[in-house]
Amino acid sequence: MSPLRLKMPVADSYYFVAHDYMAGRRRLDRRVLGIGLAAALLGELVVTGVVAVSGERLYVLHESPPDRLLYDINVQLLGQPQHRDLPTWLAFLAVTAEAKVTERMQASRRLDEVELRRVIGKRRALMPADVNEAAWQALRLERALTTAADMTHADLFLAGIVQATGLLPHVLWNPDTSNIGNLVLSRVLPLIDPSLLAIVRQTEAAVGRSVLAPR
């Protein structure tokens, strides 16, 4: 749990893990970041009971989503009943996930837009409003995975997509405990909610595909 705010959506946590908390820089290829954030958003929909996943198929459960972004995605889901397969939605959401999640994080004052001076001209960049809050996300996962702490399904799901997108070394940075963390994750991940696990596996496959057919 964040010491500052009690609840943070999975996609926001993932965004912080995927970015340098001091400089706000991406730690990932842009395509993979999109896949990771899209997976996180689908995970939020599962956690809030809006959708369920079975195999590669999405099921809309008509539960009302708690926030504006999830509401919009739900509207899209309801409006496109011909598309119900997970890979398609993951690919579709990946295109706009970064823009949507950063918009939500700016609205909730987790990210601030700042102007950075460059050698030539200026550049606008998104920085964590609270460095501690941003840094805490990776640390929280690290502690949870390397100690005997209890983890929620949402936390394990977050750890799963962090691993699937190649970010785990940033979380399990400490060589003394990283083996334990890897072992714990590999043992516990298969036991999480099947809908969430299906999203993690699909994320892994999508990242694999983007490695095998690079642009």
């Binding site: 730690r27 990932l28 290829d29 395509r31 993979v32 195999g55 590669e56 899209q76 409006g79 496109q80 009943p81 011909q82 598309h83 398609t88 939605w89 690919a91 579709f92 295109v95 706009t96 699937a164 997108t165 190649g166 970010l167 070394p169 940033h170 298969p190 696990l197 299906a198 596996r201 699909q202 892994e204 496959a205 999508a206 990242v207 694999g208 595909r209 983007s210 490695v211 095998l212 057919a213 690079p214 642009r215």
Partner: protein
Amino acid sequence: MPRSRPGTRHDIIAATLAQNRLGVLAVVFFVLAAAAPMTVVAGGATTGWAVTGVLGIPIAYLAVAVVLAIFSVGYTAMSRKIVNAGAFYSYIARGLGRVAGVAAAFVAMLGYNAMQFGLYGGFGAVTTGLIGERLGFDAPWWLYAVIAWAVIGVLGVLRVDVNGKVLAVLLLAEIAIALIYGAVEVTHPAGGTVTYDSLAISWLWNDTIGAGFATAIAGFVGFEATAVYAEETKDPRRTVPRATYLALVTIGLLYAASSWAMSVAAGPHQIIDRAKTDSTELMFNLVSPYLHRVWLDIGHILFVTSLFAALLAFHNTVARYFFALGREHVLPTWLGTTGANNAPKWGSIAQTVLAGLVLVVYAAAGLDPIVHLFFWLTVLGGLGVLILMTATSVAVIAYFAQADNRGGVGIWSTAFAPALAAIGLGYMLWLTLTQFDVLLGVTDPHSIVPVMLPSLFGIAAIAGVIWAIVLKMTRPVTYELIGMGATSATAEARITAAIASERVR
């Protein structure tokens, strides 16, 4: 109130996804970077003449292009059916079974690695020559090879891909300079008359043409990557075949025309001796009396960049093979992990280590970088790909022989074309294997090299068969994943559950 029917509703999903899809030209450019025209024309064809002594290499390029086009009919038809499988071994696994698939994967690893190792020899030798002549700085070939090796090792892990636009510009420049040189050569023929001896169709029945075919095939390797992009294209049904044929026609005509033009300028009777004395400088020496030195410098620089682009492309190909096999758990799983920048990190490192070892051996043994490293190993790589394509043709027939897989594909694509390709490629394979001594330029009848090099593929295939059987007995889930590539992640749980329920029963 009017209501739109579901079928006519605006499909925002399909529209958004379509925006990011690749067109025909984009795929062609991705693929031709590996084929590297300048490397093939200035390096492959000339060394081919020098080593094999076969004049008919230009007609061999055309013949190979035709056979590969027929091969592509079935290959691209199957690429529509098998999602996210861009590698020959996954086609072979689906068509001929998983044991054959692992054998093919091992053959492919050896072949593509050999191709990449060989290119270091070309890069080192050509760069040494260029810098020695222009800047007067003499250094051994392996120094430049090692520099390139280090740069590629870093680029591979960071996946700082050379920008697609840069590659496209370099590719177009290479094609342009090859055409300019060709035009100069044809307008200045030896003895004053344009000859067509090297394009004579009778060469195809000559008893040394196998060496010519192998030389030619090595030049086409890389075109098969079009299928990798099947899922990323606007319309896989059309885009992939069109890109494949366009790539084949472009490079086939270019290779044949450029090498023929060289034979015209040197004269068909002198070309082989000239190739022996001038080696990779032949193409430049033939045009040097008629062109300003700037044109030669541009050509040389493009030759070096072309070799480098090919090195990087094959490095990435091998790294992705390691990655895909790691994902399937056929090779150690750590090979299937990515770096944060979407690079097949450990696959890349593994390839770099292997290439480093080969460079050390060649430098220490003092072998010739052009003949023993560039030519021998790239044609060895070409042989590996020839074996894979022959097997893939058979796999395509076997795959489409199952009625479930046939839907919507005509009999020309599912049976006739692949059968023709299997016969054509099998014939070329037979000729290549029986004439491997000619291909390597080995005249000593007691030399074991012409037997040893091709039999490496036999060893790789046998090792693959044994490993597949071991997997089947000890790790049945992994065995089921063979050929699945990136989808292994989603398939694994399903297969584990299926096997578990079978045991319960």
